[in-house]
Amino acid sequence: MFTSDSIPLQDYLIIASVLFCIGVWGLINSRNAVRVLMSIELMLNAVNINLMAFSAYIDGNLIRGQVFTVFVITVAAAEAAVGLAILISLYRNRTTVDMESFNLLKW
């Protein structure tokens, strides 16, 4: 039913790690706040690829990785909603989306 010899597990892990590192770089370097949220979504997707690959190759019987992926997708949806609401509320008060100009939590 599932041939695990055509694509090795390592290939999925390599794609996921490249995606994760691109997400980290974007998270650090973006100045647009929306792009920061998009980078977080990229990182969450990298983690999801890892969970799905392990669930298919190692835990093929009890697919616990797929259940965790469903939970991660749920939490990512909630995070996107709250993050974008915070972003819009910040934009109303500062009229900018530049990350360098947000210093509300500085003291």
Binding site: F2, L19, I22, R35, D59, R64, V75, A78, A81
Partner: protein
Amino acid sequence: MSISTSTEQICFLILGLIVIGGSLGVVLLNNIVYSAFLLGGVFMGVAGLYLLLNASFVAAAQILVYVGAVNVLILFAIMLVNKKEELKPIKALRTRKILSAGVCTGLLILLFRVDITTPWIFPGPNSIGELSTERIGEHLFTDYLLPFELASVLLLMAMIGAIVLARRDVLISDIGTGDSVNQSLIEKSNEQILLDQSSE
């Protein structure tokens, strides 16, 4: 090598190129609208990878939730805050980018080393393939029931929180005077309340 194997490998290669090239575009492109559309492409590519792993339910959930909800939400937010603005120049921005790229490359090399040198336990049990939808349902209502309920509570809280944060026209009146209260962020002080308290 049979034809199904080579087809699978070609699909994997194309999907990997879509995912990695699209995510590079998301991070590097100047126009944020192009980034948002490319992000949708990356999500579709990840859903294709899930299909290659015989997980059709999660692939459908990925497309419905990420492409259908999260990406559309991001596009709406971009339309709401999209304004031509000149970002203030920062000193040594290029140095910062190169430095962080070096750190990320180091992390990438570390992850590659872990991926390649670790002897993963093979072969595991056979994948159950198309039965996975039923199995996910069993998991959700037996041993993962508590996280499932917590997820529903979390979604409710996130929905209410997002509405409260993003609505502009909630007007709270001051309890003492009945005047409307300045509900801006912290750095704008609430003089009205402070004056009332000092006068009483």
